[in-house]
Amino acid sequence: MRKRSAKPPLALPCRPVKPAPFEYHAPATTADALAVLAEHGDEAKPLAGGQSLVPMLALRLTRFGHLVDLNRVPELAGIERHNGTVTVGTMTRQADLERSPDAAAVPLLGLATPLIGHFQIRNRGTVGGSIAHADPAGELPAVVLTLDAQLDIASASGTRTVSASEFFEGTWTTVVGDDELLTAVHFPVWADGAGFAVDEVARRLGDFALVGVVCGVELDGSSKVTRAAIGLLGMGGTPLRAAAAEQALVGTAPTDDELTEIGRLAVADLDPPADIHASTEYRSSVGAHVVKRALRTALERAGG
């Protein structure tokens, strides 16, 4: 052990550092942040909550010449409800999303967010950071895809809006360009009485899910499904929609056996990744069960 009292006198401060060196930018406005990104291109990286990026920098899994800290840009945070849409600013903390009465109009946000990391992580972690980081096992990217959210992407030359189905390109990869910033996400509000569920299997609470399911259903007066959305996480390089299972569900009031079949259908055409924690076969098998379990919960919550 180092004895602190025996520190040798040093001419220069000698302090441990872990990340590779970078220039730190702390813009106060979105426009200033975009100007730094425009100037430095792929040498620059936006820093949101830092709950993925900072460990990756500290472990030197990645390095950037310039970090653009968005934490001092107040206009990028906030939650607003307009007709049929909840808009969440990219720098909204996950902990604030959990507590927001406006976000409660999109129940999947409240169901998915507590599963992200730990509460210390959600105090720092942001909605846009999680979505733009695009971890295939992330909860919020799956919610974005399942709800067909719209995403605002800004650059110094303007703002474009893309659909969730176009947003995710692969593991940790989205359509957001080097000079662009995800600024806000628009989540559609479903009809009153819709039922939602998020279910996942992880080795410990707060760990990345091995397999997860995000789903929503709407029912008619006779408990038949009129609308269904099923999203999967951890089952591919991006979050995935189980379109065939959604189609099979609509128009039915499914029995337990039929839900088992829909679970199988949801994973039938997938080739989920194998890693040290779970094989492809395990993910498929558990995935089918978790789809069934999540749908049963969503149907119960919808009054079915």
């Binding site: 060196p21 900072v54 460990p55 920098l57 500290a58 472990l59 509460f119 992580i121 720092r124």
Partner: protein
């Protein structure tokens, strides 16, 4: 770059590289070594401190990002020579063995109890999911946090 923060009520200003993590800043620049470095990847919670009252893992925040904020570390919890109720409860209920996770555990518990003043045992276990202890099996830690909640 200059980073100015208030740590445990005391102003601290140090010239550090932008890549300095908050936990390194606290330990090396402020000489407050009660905050521990555990996993370095936000998994273990040993480095938990309060930034403007909210618990964060100080290994995943840059010191530069804390500029202007108010930080509480384990060294700042005792008031007037009296330990914080959560510290007392950890001592009374033997909520530690080697002590490495303890400062993070205590600060996470302080923050958790601020938001959940009357938790159940299940709430405490869920609330401390981001703090790992390799010694105790958590039983006494959970009992300590419940006792601290009762004593408030």
């Amino acid at each position: 770059m200059d980073v100015s923060v208030t740590v445990n009520g005391q102003p601290q200003r140090h010239d550090v590289e932008p890549r300095t993590l908050l936990v390194q800043f606290l330990r090396e620049s402020c000489d407050l070594t009660g905050t521990k470095v555990g996993c370095d990847t936000s998994s273990c919670g040993a480095c938990t401190v309060l930034v403007d009252g909210e618990s964060v893992k100080s290994c995943t925040m840059l010191a530069a990002q804390a500029d202007g904020s108010s930080i509480t570390t384990i060294e700042g919890l005792a008031q007037g020579g009296l330990q914080h109720p959560v510290q007392q409860a950890f001592a009374e209920h033997h909520g530690l063995q080697c002590g490495y996770c303890t400062s993070g555990m205590v600060l996470a518990a302080v923050s958790f109890l601020d938001e959940n003043p009357n938790p159940t045992e299940a709430d405490v276990r869920l609330g401390l999911e981001g703090n790992l202890c390799r010694c105790t099996g958590y039983h006494n830690i959970v009992q300590a946090v419940l006792a601290a909640a009762r004593s408030r």
